[in-house]
Each structure stands twice: as structure tokens, then as C-alpha cells.
């Protein structure tokens, strides 16, 4: 149905990333009530954002794509952009930052990210990458909602992809897991532009000599750029993004967090016999129990 026949072989890609608490052991800190201690836990580029950045870097190495990275957040979130630039040798970094964005749920966040991406390269982004989900919010909703706001084809759980520049087509393999059922590997084809959320199992492969050479070149460039990331950074507020303030932040968020509580302990379902882990005789008894069970004897 598209009537515009672009002869260009250029490829523009964008990545949306998030600055997240570092949940890795040793870095994360919790309050006594089990909630995250945000003050003590440092923030990093989220692990899924990092994978999305790698997927964009693949487009750079393989197709010479121009790469832009965007994030919504307070000024400190520019460190996520810097870390992403190191991974994907970004040509542009965009921070969407405005006090009124605070408190946004996924819909209000998508409003900002969508507006931001439409500002990149005059709205001519061919592929947008997002991570699978953020490790703090964990909803996995922001990517697809941004895609819908942009009017882009959304492809989720993408494990690898290739681009047919001539015909402006993207081919992707998706891993669909229907829990309690089975998994499906699906191969799809869609005309550009597309929005991809990258599956955690994504890995880039660079097989040819020319790709490896390009990889090295861009990796070197990325390092230099990330050291001077401010040169590539643009900060955009509500007005510059041209967004209706009623659609962002708290006013634009349909949902609220009503309460947070400890999940009450369930009633004990079994009565455990407690065994001392250093007592060899007791453990010997446990082992003979285990062998009995495995011999197929019915318990209880």
C-alpha cells in the first residue's frame, strides 16, 4: 500500500533505554522491610537496555546505520545514555527531561518516548529497539505502548534480525513462550519502520572479516565518543518535544500505586523434620529416605 518508493539505502535506528537500580548481588541494598533502598543502591544502564543497545550496534556494524539513543528521566539519567553510547557507538543522545514527567506510568512514559523518537532524524527512524523489560518496573509494557503511539509495527521477543535494505524489509525471529504449553520460534517479515523489543537471549554474531573490521573500528569510536558524550547530548523538555502536558507525568497516568505490603505468609502445608546440616548420621537417614522415594514408593 505504501506508495513512497525510497531508493535510499540509509538506515536510521534508535534505542530507548532506562537508568535502573543495579540489582546485582553486592550492589543492591534493601531496607529492613524488604523494599529497595534507592539511596544506597547505585543506578546503571538496565541490563535489558544494554542488550537493546547491542542490537542497535549490530545494525551499525552490519548496515552502517546511524544510531540515536533516547531516555526519559532526570538529568542523572544521562549516565544511562553514556553507558549505552559505549555499547552502540551512538551518533546522537537524547534526554527527555522535564519535572512534569515524574510519576509517569507506562502509558504516560510511552507518550514522551514516542514524541522523542519522532524528533530523531526528522522522524525518519527505521528501527527502534527497546529492552525486554526494566528490572525495577518489570512490566514490559513501555516498549509496545511506545510502538503503538508511533504507529510502528511492533515485534516482541526478537532473538535475531536482518534487514533487506533494497526492499526496506526487516526479517526477524521471535521466541514466543506460552507458559504451561510450549515455545514457538516464529519467523516474520515486515516493511520498515518497525519497533523491536529484544529478547534477553539475543546475541549478535559478526561472521565476516569486513564485519569484524567494522566492529573494531566502531568499538574504538564508541570509546572516544562516550568519553566526550556531552558533545552528542541533546536535552529536550515538554515544549521542545511538542507534547500536551496533560498526557504526561501524573496527569497522563491512568494507574497509581495504591499500596505496597508484605505478602502474608501462607499456612504451613507440611510439617518439616529439622535436620542438623553438620550431623552425618542424620543426613545419612535423609539420604535413605531419598532413595526410598526415588525407588518409586508412594509417600503419604
Amino acid at each position: 500500500m505504501t506508495t513512497t518508493t525510497t531508493t535510499t539505502k540509509d538506515l536510521n535506528v534508535a534505542v530507548i533505554v532506562k537508568l535502573e537500580p543495579d540489582f546485582s548481588e553486592g550492589n543492591v541494598s534493601y531496607n529492613a522491610d524488604g523494599t529497595l533502598n534507592r539511596a544506597e543502591t547505585k543506578s546503571i544502564l538496565g541490563p535489558h537496555s544494554a542488550i537493546a543497545s547491542s542490537a542497535a550496534f549490530y545494525a551499525k556494524v552490519k548496515y552502517g546505520a546511524r544510531v540515536a539513543v533516547g531516555t526519559m528521566g532526570p538529568p542523572i539519567a544521562e549516565s544511562a545514555l553514556q553507558q549505552a553510547q559505549l555499547l552502540c557507538d551512538a551518533d546522537e543522545l537524547h534526554l527527555y527531561s522535564d519535572r512534569i514527567f515524574a510519576g509517569a506510568d507506562t502509558l504516560a512514559t510511552a507518550e514522551v518516548l514516542g514524541a522523542g523518537i519522532s524528533k530523531v532524524e526528522g522522524g525518519k527512524v527505521d528501527i527502534v529497539f527497546s529492552g525486554h523489560r526494566a528490572s525495577d518496573g518489570e512490566t514490559g509494557q513501555t516498549g509496545p505502548q511506545t510502538a503503538w503511539k508511533l504507529g510502528y509495527t511492533f515485534l516482541g521477543n526478537v532473538v535475531d534480525y536482518s534487514v533487506d535494505l533494497q526492499n526496506r524489509l526487516l526479517r526477524a525471529r521471535r521466541l514466543i513462550s506460552l507458559q504451561g504449553f510450549y515455545d514457538i520460534i516464529e519467523e516474520v517479515e515486515a516493511p520498515l519502520p518497525v519497533f523491536i523489543s529484544i529478547d534477553p537471549s539475543y546475541k549478535a554474531f559478526f561472521n565476516t572479516v569486513s564485519q569484524r573490521l567494522a566492529l573494531e573500528k566502531y568499538q574504538k569510536e564508541a570509546k572516544l565518543r562516550a568519553e566526550n558524550y556531552k558533545q552528542f547530548l541533546k536535552v529536550l523538555n515538554t515544549q521542545q518535544l511538542g507534547i500536551d502536558p496533560k498526557l504526561v507525568g501524573l496527569p497522563g497516568s491512568p494507574t497509581i500505586v495504591y499500596k505496597v505490603e508484605r505478602i502474608p505468609k501462607a499456612k504451613a502445608s507440611r510439617k518439616a523434620e529439622v535436620v542438623d546440616g553438620t550431623n552425618r548420621d542424620q543426613i545419612a537417614k535423609v539420604v535413605s529416605n531419598m532413595y526410598e522415594v526415588l525407588g518409586g514408593m508412594v509417600i503419604k
Partner: protein, 394 residues
Amino acid sequence: MTSKYQHLYVVIEHDDGVPVPVSLEMLGEARRLMDGFNKKYSSDEKVVAVVLGHNVHKLCEELIYYGADYVIYADSPELRSRRNIIDTKVISQIARNRELAAKFSNASEFVKPRYMFFGADSIGRHLSSTVLAELESGLASDINKLVVEDLELKHEHKTKGQAIKYEKTLEMYRPDFSGFLWTTILCLDNRNPANEREYHPQACSIIPGVFAPIERDSSRRGEIVDYIPKFDEHDLRVRVLDRKIVKSAVDFDSHKAIVSFGKGVKDSPEQNIKLVAELAKEIEAEVGISLPISKKPFSVSEGTNSTYMIPDRVIGTSGRKVAPLLYIAAGISGAMQHIAGMKESGFIVAINPDENSPIKDECDIFIKGRMEDVIPILVEELRKQRPAIEVKKK
């Protein structure tokens, strides 16, 4: 009494007419919730299943036996496999369709459904996101408890600090990553005079394996309402070239025993994971993990990573449900989500230094101690006793 927002729409997932388990689970919970609703408020609001597919009329009948009052069935060859764009369009059309709603009750005021459910799996997570972006309302993900309640609320923005009563509000509970905290999400209309805005449906995606389906009852009566979906070429721009069902390399079902590990490996993850593997080998067990482990919170070598710390091995509501003869939980504290995945096991042994951890109430033997100390003794004893048992078998 009629209203702009009515009914609970449940978006059904199926593979060529076979319902994905979460679909029947959602219907079960929808039935329980709306039975309560019908008693408390009004009997006019229904459980409405929404089905997209081709030649799956039989499935629609089944959904009635599993709790649906009505089934809206959009049939087209183009709807045979799941594609986000066209599915989003068709579901949104259905959600906004007053003529359809008029089949269930007085719909003179109908605008959109009151509530909407989706499955929180690879398909439903993204589909719910795009549908709610299209319907411009709120969505909570990964829910495992639901309550309908009248709430009096004060909120900085929603009510501009005034106490306002929100009737028939869906409280959507989601467990956080640790499995020990519950966050309740509400989707609320803005009643702030500065920015009034209505947000319906109140929607969520539901974790597979949490809710029980109701018992199939073929005497249940309901009605199937056909809907002819509208779409154009542009909505069909994604082509599915190939589709393969893959079996995971992880095989819980054919093993008599499963050894799982959790965050208790943290003191020396690399070493401890090796111990777990050794124990598993000794009793020919498959290796499982708890949910936090799949998020790779430790630094371990790539080899260890790729073998064990993968989502396929997660046991619990976010992963697989298992019921082996013997289940050994090493360094697993016993978050509700994990327990739900293993509580049907025959004999459960837990290894944990903390007698206060919830796993103690869910096991038959609680070996108090750190896994690095206990597993070597276990393995040694297993080796010592093995021949005698084999003789006994004959």
C-alpha cells in the same frame, strides 16, 4: 441501570482452537469476581470472552463451559496466527462496539468495557500493552490477586487531594521481583477539576498458573456472538514466514527428581552451582532455579550462566510447575511464587541456614545449614548408600 463502562472482557489465547491454560484460568477468576459483583452491585454485567481465530467455534463453546456468559468471536483466515497489529485493531474495535455490548445488556450508554483481562505471557503482555495504548487506559502487569471494592481515595493528582469515592474499583495485586512484596495498582479516572479524564477499562495481565479454572460444566448456558472484523491491507503488513514449536532442552517431566537452587548460592556462586550440579548428577535429577536467579544477579563465568541461569529453568508461577517424586530446594527461601511451582512434589527436602525462611513450612525435611557445607556430605552419603539400594531393587 446502564453505564458507560460495563462487563469484564477476557481476551482468550489459543493455538488453533486449543486454549492456552492461562485463558481458562482467567475465565475462572473472572467468573468468581463477577459472581461477587453480580451479587453486590448488579446482575447486568457479564463475563465476556473475546476470541480471535479461524474455524474455532468449538473453542467458543468450551469457553462457556468454563465460565463465560458470552463469547465474542471474530473469525477470519487472517486471524489464524497471532499478529500484534491486526489483533490490537480487532480487539479495540470489539471493546468499543456498542452493538455487541447491546447483546448482553442495556448498552445505550456503553463506551468501553469496565474491566479487561489478558494473559501475562509473550503474546498477552504485548497485546495488552498495545490494546490499552489504543484504548488510552491503564494496565497493570503480572497480577496474581484481584478484588473489586468501593474505595474512598485522596490523591495528589487524581482527586486534587480531596476524598472521593471510586466505586467498583479493581484492586490489582502484583508480586514484586523478590516475591515477598505485593503492590496494589489501581486504574482511576482523573477527577481533578484541572484535568478531568476517564480511564476505562481497568485492565491487567494475569500470571499464568496462578488462578484455578472452574470445573468444566457442559450444562452451562451462554451465547456466542459473531463479529466480522474490519481491517485493511496495511494492518496485514507483517507476514509470518515460518512457525516451529520448540521443545526446551530442560526436561523436568521425565525426571524423578529435581534439584533447584536460589539466591543462597551467593557466597560463592560458581562453586555452589557446581555442587548443585554434582548432587543432581548423583540422583539423575534435572536442575531448576528460582526466579531471581534467572536475572543473573551474580557474576559467574559464561559457561555456568548459559547452562543454568536461564528462564527455561525457572520453577514457579513465572516459570514451570513441577511435581517430581523428590524435590531438593537448595538455598531457596520459598517466595510464594516459587512454592506455587513445586508444592505438588512428592517429597521435599530443603537446605537452608535460616530456620525462619518460609520454605520450612513447605518441606518434609529441613536440613539446617549452608549448601556449601551440606551438599558435599549429601553427595558422599548418596554414593555410600547407592549399591545397597540397587541390590534391594532386584
